[in-house]
């Protein structure tokens, strides 16, 4: 019995089977559903954008880490998620070099420059999109198509903002039959994917619920043309990148708060900023900027929402 050599480590000696790659895999599962939906809606073009974007993200991370002689962490799945989200934020007619560049920028500049996974202070996909919108505004804000028939068309948010065109029916919005970025239109599929992640306890319901809830409230109160409380809530919630952003980008672990109250504040802040930009700002859509601003505020939110530890509540003794 003396020939045994034991590992002596700190307790606990038991770990959950869920690790980082597994969590990322769940997110990829949910995003895969969205990818399928966007391919059905926008055809081969969507598939090409997704393929180019994901490959660019993976290649950028691998090359960067190889170049710096760091361990290559492509297998953890986070770069693939960034690539998918960048792709989902592209108009159908975007030139293919745009998502490629966006993914590379997101992975290298936004993530690796700051130390890689876990150290970036902004969501790579949201920052990548913001970069593309400001560098190539035309490529990023035109080229809208209606699914299936391939006719060019204005997006619902552009229509709400005064562009000519008509709003799709509610069911069309739900199924994704509207002009928009390839991965943001299929509301029902995004919802299913998001609920799957909540069920798997990968994401906390608090962020999407408070994000979408706040936008809905503002849209209802201030978004109408006939005075207060006449806004078109459903159109606002189902249009733009709100659902995609609320379920898949605002919930990014690295750039959202870790405390429970903090997550509520994250969602509220994202919702408030999105509503401000949509209703009174110069851009038709504000989800990306809202998320980025709240990303930057995240460390502060965490520090301001440190919970009071257990036992600080007063208890009366009856005996």
């Amino acid at each position: 019995m003396t020939d045994y050599k034991f590992v002596v480590g700190s307790s606990p000696h038991l770990r959950t089977s869920e690790n980082t790659p597994r969590l990322m895999f769940y997110v990829l599962q949910a995003l895969f559903l969205v990818a399928v939906a966007s391919t059905i809606l926008f055809g081969v073009r969507a598939m090409a954008i997704i393929g180019v974007s994901v490959l660019a993200a993976l290649a950028a991370e691998a090359l960067w880490q190889k170049g710096l002689r760091q361990p290559v962490t492509v297998a953890d799945g986070s770069a693939a998620i960034t690539g998918l989200l960048i792709a989902f934020n592209m108009p159908p007619l975007v030139p293919l070099w745009v998502p490629a560049l966006g993914s590379a920028f997101a992975v290298i500049v936004v993530k690796q420059f700051f130390g890689g996974l876990g150290h970036n202070f902004m969501n790579p996909a949201a920052a990548g999109r913001a970069f593309l919108v400001s560098a190539w505004p035309l490529a990023m804000t035109s080229g809208w198509l209606t699914p299936f028939d391939g006719a060019t068309s204005a997006t619902p948010l552009q229509v709400l903002g005064g562009s000519s065109g008509s709003l799709p029916e509610g069911w069309q919005m739900l199924m994704g039959w509207r002009a928009g970025c390839i991965g943001e239109t299929s509301a029902l599929v995004i919802l299913i994917g998001g609920l799957y992640l909540i069920y798997r306890q990968v994401i906390d319901w608090k962020i999407p619920a408070s994000f979408i809830g706040t936008v809905a409230l503002f849209a209802w109160v201030f978004g109408g043309t006939d005075g207060w409380f006449t806004g078109d809530v459903l159109t606002h919630v189902l249009s733009g990148g709100l659902l995609l952003g609320a379920f898949f980008m605002a919930t990014d672990y690295v750039t959202s708060p870790v405390t429970k109250r903090g997550r509520l504040i994250m969602g509220l802040g994202c919702g408030l900023l999105t509503a401000l930009i949509r209703l009174w700002g110069g851009y038709p859509e504000g989800v990306t900027y809202a998320i980025l601003l709240m990303n930057v505020a995240t460390p502060l939110i965490d520090r301001m929402t440190i919970p009071r530890p257990f036992g600080t509540r007063q208890t009366k003794v009856t005996g």
Binding site: Y4, G9, S11, P12, L14, G118, V258, I306, G311, V317
Partner: protein, 445 residues
């Protein structure tokens, strides 16, 4: 009424190895190694010396300090030596009395049964002390001290802890099935010592047979009730148990259950107290679950204190496969051992051997700030930040985030998808903070 507690995790139970295996007596040890520190508090001084002949139940170490408990010979025989030996909880050699058994199991003259019925609370507490009773759940706090709350801390409630929330361990579970009457007797004595009129037995719902046994035994007992708790680790922690059952919040350290009018004791401790009256024999044996995927024939053994781990492991068929971790206690809070040459002490609830082929751990990767450690912390701490400060040795910052309140239950490390050693870092900060507080206190007095 069942309000639950914050956070917590659901590790796999792994209790099937031994939950249906009846308790059996371990083989008589030929040699016992009885450390003079087996409890929280002042260490004992040896009261015997090399060459002395001792009897079962004879005091072999005692201390005059209030927070302490005497230790007794668990076999009869000759004192071989009094020297430092490797201690399973402290990880270093600690003075111990080594006794060579003569195999006669001759009881000491002082051992005689006593009737607890007509004893005053003071007499009961004195017996707790002389019987060397400590909390058998693992923390090994002297029982007599726990049952002597100061006058300004009225106690109105007694909880008997049968949660046994650590995976793998089934010693308490089996004792509830096989020693039901003794547990109940011990509980009544404990309630009398406290002067409380009602008591609650708390059992997690993954032990339906233990719940049924206790409920049946308490059917006609109006002042004791049995509650079933939804299984969640660390429900057996005193603070979490009190929160679950009574919805009372025990204040942070140095706060104690008595600050909210509660005393909690383990079912095994109640059992041992009952035996101490019935037979007069002090605490010289306890039930130990020897288990784990690397143990050939897992079992619940009634073991003499001081029996060496390797004897018990051999008795359970030895190691099976490639044993890579040997742990005293459960997998969540147990203490890793580097040698099988350590004795069972009063706080040894289990001996657990894990195999190398099972992936129990893994290399730490970058923190992805998922916040799961925050979600599961039963003390509502923020392990992610405390551990980050601790790793940078910014202990003041860690203290501001209440690092000293940490229970070291291990939920945060368990749940971490990046396999980061959170508890380890927080424990480091905690020790540093405690040392500083002690120094400050010493400087001010």
């Amino acid at each position: 009424m069942r309000n639950g507690f914050d956070g917590g995790v659901h590790p796999p139970h792994y209790k099937t190895h031994t939950e249906d295996v009846a308790i059996r007596s371990a083989r008589e040890p030929e040699v016992v190694v009885i450390p003079l520190v087996q409890h929280l508090g002042a260490p004992c001084e040896a009261t015997v010396k090399k060459g002395d002949v001792v009897d079962v139940g004879q005091v072999i170490g005692d201390a005059s300090a209030f927070v302490s408990a005497p230790v007794h010979a668990s076999v009869s025989g000759k004192v071989f030596k009094v020297e430092p030996r490797l201690h399973p909880a402290l990880g270093k050699p600690v003075p111990a009395v080594i006794i060579e058994s003569d195999g006669e199991n001759r009881w000491h003259d002082s051992i005689e049964p006593r009737d607890a019925e007509d004893l005053t609370p003071e007499e009961i507490i004195r017996t707790m002390r002389t019987a060397g009773l400590v909390g058998l759940g693992g923390a090994a706090f002297p029982t007599a001290v726990k049952f002597s709350p100061p006058k300004d801390k009225p106690v109105d409630t007694f909880l008997l802890n049968g949660a046994e929330c650590e995976p793998f361990l089934t010693a308490d579970h089996r004792l509830m099935l096989e020693g039901t009457a003794d547990i109940l007797t011990g509980m009544r004595v404990m309630m009398r010592a406290l002067g409380v009129t009602t008591g609650t037995i708390c059992i997690e719902d993954n032990k339906p047979d233990a719940l049924a046994a206790m409920e049946a035994a308490c059917k006609d007992v109006p002042d004791i009730k049995v509650v079933s708790l939804k299984t969640r680790y660390p429900q057996g922690s005193e603070k979490q148990l009190i929160k679950s059952v009574l919805n009372r919040d025990v204040p942070p350290p140095p706060g104690l259950p008595m600050d909210v009018g509660v005393v909690v004791s383990n079912v095994s401790t109640a059992h041992a107290l009952s035996r101490a009256f019935k037979t007069g024999m002090p605490l010289i044996e306890r039930v130990v679950t020897v288990t784990g995927p690397a143990i050939a024939e897992p079992a619940n053994l009634l073991v003499k204190i001081g029996t060496l781990f390797h004897q018990l492991i051999e008795e359970c068929g030895g190691f099976e496969g490639n044993a890579s971790r040997l742990i005293m206690g459960g997998p969540m809070m147990g203490i890793a051992q580097f040698s099988t040459d350590v004795p069972v002490i009063k706080g040894t609830s289990g001996i657990l051997a894990l195999g190398a082929e099972d992936e129990w751990d893994g290399e730490a990767t970058a923190c992805i700030k998922c916040g799961r450690c925050v979600d599961v912390c039963p003390m509502r701490l923020v392990p992610i930040l405390i551990s980050a400060y601790a790793e940078r040795e910014w202990y003041e910052k860690a203290e501001q985030l209440y690092a000293a309140d940490c229970l070291e239950c291990g939920c945060c490390s368990f749940i971490c998808p990046a396999r980061r050693p959170l508890v380890q870092a927080i424990r480091m900060a905690k020790q540093h903070i405690m040392n500083q507080r002690r120094e400050r206190q010493a400087a001010s007095t």
